[in-house]
């Protein structure tokens, strides 16, 4: 007898439909799986057999062949355990032959329990079938894409009872994530002093402009960066789904409710490999940090300590807003619309410019060179962060995150009206239309270009930042000379060895 079920497997952040065919026929007892299963998928044989026996059903002592179609698509992970088990039960007559078309994914335990798998959201989106059986923990997230087709299942026995005895399906269970794991953004009011950095944070949040903080250790660079995410608007419904999809595919815990609703904050360690940062790796192309941080903040602390090749791999995603990870099995496109905040010390010992700096000039020059010019060219804002003086530390608090977020939201609304997510996304004609230069502003830019202080890419980015500055001020239609000058003033420049100490 033959049973056919729908399921899905994960490639990058996309679910791909898979059809599971189970054939039970006379012959020598045996169990084989064909159709490009990877190692964890082949091990399904042992898990499925144990789970069926533990659930009180009987294991058919016949020849069992499982085909995973399409045959050319590599299947990864244990998510196909559940459809294979259901197929065996149906093909051996232990489930009714006349059932609505079933889609399912989930990993089986030897006791017949059904465990969650990474990527529930994209998988549920890709699975066909009138009913989609999903592990209870993944059910809430799956509902956001598969709606009322979702049926939460806890054990294999639940499924048999529901289909054979007509018992109700179990209720979905919130994921085990406690609220502490959800991004917690501390308040900007905690930061005393640092006037330049505060303005830069606000501009970065309002226009989606990448930011580089340079300063000695303990000056508050990390503290500032962590507060940026609290200034960003909440995710729109589409963004929330996109972020949740990536987080689900990366195996990150989803918050209660199954959807990520606040902008993510990701801070990879500087030892991160290229695959960890931009995605990839062997087998299925896992989303990297630049993708899990999409629609949010990617914080690169100790920028100078990252491997230069890893940093340069960020250049394309920053430009295009997506990562293309090419693997032998195919190319996977993953979202990467991040706001980069980077922090670095001015020199290896961190004291750059102070008397205590112990770095020989050559070491300082080497350190400054670690961040390549092309990457710097993509960072729109650069500020020096120094330890605030005592008067500022004891002085009055600045604007709170809520106050700044309100101004940021206003600018973002203006951007939406221009048809982009944020001003940093303005290009070509849209830029000419929404950010026309006053004649004097054009002269200033021309001089900066001639003097070599600005590249072609830099020109566009300066205009975007100038647009944000004007939006934050009075939202007038044109870019005034002061807007353009301030944008040039904020722009990242190579650290000059020697003169900065």
């Amino acid at each position: 007898m033959l049973a056919t079920l729908a399921s899905a497997t994960l490639t990058g952040v996309e679910g791909r439909s898979v059809t599971v065919e189970v054939h039970v026929a006379d012959g020598l007892p045996g169990f084989s799986i064909v159709g490009l299963p990877d190692a964890s998928c082949r091990e399904a044989r042992d898990r499925v057999r144990a789970a069926i026996v533990s659930s009180g059903a009987s294991w058919p002592l016949r020849r069992i062949t499982v085909n995973l179609a399409p045959g050319g698509l590599p299947k990864a992970g244990a998510g196909l355990d559940l459809p294979i088990a259901l197929g065996v039960l149906q093909a051996s007559g232990q489930l009714p032959a006349e059932l609505p078309s079933i889609g399912a994914f989930g990993e089986l335990g030897l006791d017949g329990g059904i465990r969650p798998v990474p990527g529930a959201l994209p998988l549920a989106d890709a699975v066909a079938g009138e009913l989609v059986l999903v592990p209870v923990v993944d059910a809430q997230a799956a509902t956001h894409v598969a709606g009322d087709r979702v049926r939460p299942v806890r054990t294999l026995t639940d499924v048999v009872r529901a289909f054979v005895d007509g018992e109700p399906w179990p209720d979905p269970e919130p994921s085990s994530t406690d609220d502490a794991a959800v991004t917690f953004a501390p308040d900007l009011a905690d930061v005393r002093g640092q006037p330049a950095a505060r303005v830069a944070l606000e501009v970065a949040a309002a226009g989606g402009h990448h930011l580089l903080l340079v300063g000695p250790p303990g000056a508050g660079k990390t503290m500032l960066a962590r507060r940026l995410v609290g200034l960003l608007p909440r995710l729109s419904a589409a963004e929330a789904l996109e972020v949740s999809r990536v987080h689900s595919a990366a195996g990150l815990p989803l918050p209660a409710g199954g959807l990520v609703s606040t902008p993510p904050f990701r801070a990879p360690h500087h030892s991160a490999s290229m695959a960890a940062l931009v995605g990839g790796g062997s087998g299925r192309a896992r989303p990297g940090e630049v993708s899990t941080a999409t629609c949010g903040v990617l914080f690169l602390d100790e920028l100078g300590e990252f491997a230069p090749s890893v940093l340069d791999a960020l250049r394309q995603p920053l430009e295009e807003g997506v990562v293309r990870v090419a693997r032998a099995g195919g190319t996977s496109v993953q979202p990467a619309r991040v706001l980069v905040v980077a922090a670095m010390n001015p020199c290896p010992c961190g004291m750059g410019g102070e008397l205590a700096c112990r770095c020989p000039p050559a070491a300082r020059a080497r350190y400054a060179r670690r961040v390549s010019g092309p990457l710097l060219d993509r960072l729109d804002l650069m500020v020096r962060v120094d330890r605030p003086d005592p008067a500022a530390l004891l002085g009055p608090a600045g604007d709170s995150s809520a106050m700044v977020a309100e101004r940021v939201a206003k600018v973002r609304q203006l951007s939406s009206a221009r048809g982009v997510r944020c001003n940093a996304d303005l290009t070509g004609d849209a830029l000419d239309e929404h950010a026309p230069l006053e004649p004097q502003s054009a002269t200033i830019l021309e001089r900066a270009l001639v003097a070599g202080r600005l590249s072609g890419r830099g020109l566009r980015r300066v205009r975007c930042v100038a647009r944000t500055l004007r939006d934050l001020d009075d939202a007038g239609p044109t870019l005034r000379p002061t807007d353009v000058l301030a944008a040039i003033g904020f722009r990242a420049r190579p650290l000059v060895e020697g003169s900065h100490g």
Partner: protein
């Protein structure tokens, strides 16, 4: 083949292996260099009194392979002037020094003889503050018409030269270890060429000579010999600049030192000098007074009054000669951050202020 001239003959002799300033002096004392080169080419032994020279055997072959015409063309091409003791263009102080310098290869202007000269020396591995002080002293002295003499090394030397060039006052002089055409250290390539164009780069080493270790102490003696006062900005406790100080003391030149923090290892040598009774430098004025010049108002550390557009004045006044962050400028000027960033961008564009990536200082 063209004939040997005095210039090419002296250069060829200086390029011989085993020949340093002392033996070159002896060779030139022994007779006319053109005759000497002819004799050596013909296989005659070197004149007596030079001591044992292992490499002397190869001299005749080396000299025979030199084309005097090509050598003259190369000197002309590099715009290298060769002066020997006794010529008017040869600095008097070097010709009559206790360790006389027989030959000088120089690019750029002649070494000025009439104006007062101050050597600014110090460690290559100086602190940021040391670098700034060297720069400001170089700037202030050059602006006051004093020739700044140093060695174009990394650290204090280079900063002093850069400051002197920026002042557009008296053109600075550099004595270097290798040939005047051998740029060393490479990092100072730009500064080197600016000195060639606007000041002087001079050496005892002939064109093409590598900056060998043994040449640097000899070079230090030239710096001490030419200067009226030697100022040490920062020196480690056993630093090479203390060799310059020894040479200055041998010649009775006043030595002055810039005090540093007792926690700063780069200032251990200078603080030691001060403890030994050497005069401290607290500003350009101290050096000018030591030179017997009356101090010039406005040429203290900090530079002269600069003309800036009135709307940028408040921000410009908040910028130091050393690295200043936007935060500092904001607090001092009391202006909003965006205003400060805008004004600084304008000041950078107009050249009043330079930025190093994250901080600014006065140009």
């Amino acid at each position: 083949m063209a004939d040997w001239t005095r210039t090419t003959a002296v250069t060829a002799l200086a390029q011989l292996p085993g020949i340093g300033p002392v033996r070159l002096d002896q060779l030139l004392q022994a007779g006319d260099p053109v005759d000497l080169v002819g004799a050596l080419c013909a296989g005659s032994p070197p004149p007596p009194g030079l001591g044992r020279i292992d490499e002397a055997g190869s001299w005749s072959a080396i000299l025979a392979s030199v084309d005097p015409g090509a050598l003259a063309a190369r000197l002309a091409d590099l715009e290298i002037t060769v002066t020997t003791a006794g010529e008017a263009a040869h600095p008097d102080r070097l010709a009559h020094d206790i360790d006389p310098s027989p030959v000088l290869f120089r690019r750029g202007r002649p070494v000025p003889t009439g104006s007062p000269a101050v050597a600014i020396v110090g460690t290559r591995r100086c602190s940021a503050i040391g670098r700034e002080v060297a720069r400001e002293l170089g700037h202030g002295l050059a602006a006051a018409g004093v020739v700044v003499v140093s060695g174009l090394a990394l650290g204090v030397d280079g900063a002093a030269h850069a400051g002197a060039l920026a002042a557009e006052g008296a053109p600075p002089v550099a004595f270097v270890g290798g040939g005047p055409d051998v740029v060393y250290p490479r990092r100072h390539s730009e500064l080197w060429h600016r000195l060639v164009a606007e000041g002087t780069v001079a050496s005892e080493a002939p064109p093409g000579a590598a900056p060998a270790r043994w040449r640097f102490p000899a070079r230090n003696r030239l710096i001490a010999a030419v200067a009226d006062v030697v100022v040490v900005v920062e020196s480690r406790s056993a630093g090479g600049s203390l060799l310059t100080v020894d040479e200055a003391i041998r010649r009775d030149r006043p030595v002055m030192a810039v005090p540093g923090s007792i926690r700063n290892p780069a200032a251990a040598g200078t603080n030691g000098l001060l403890a030994d009774g050497c005069a401290p430098v607290l500003g350009v004025d101290d050096v000018l007074v030591a030179l017997g010049l009356t101090s010039i108002v406005g040429v203290g550390l900090g530079g002269a009054e600069v003309d800036v557009p009135s709307h940028l004045r408040a921000v410009f006044d908040a910028v130091d000669d050393g690295p200043t962050s936007v935060d500092e400028v904001t607090v001092r000027s009391g202006r909003p951050v965006l205003d400060v960033v805008t004004s600084l961008a304008e000041l950078v564009a107009s050249g009043h202020v330079v930025d190093d990536g994250v901080r600014v200082r006065r140009a």
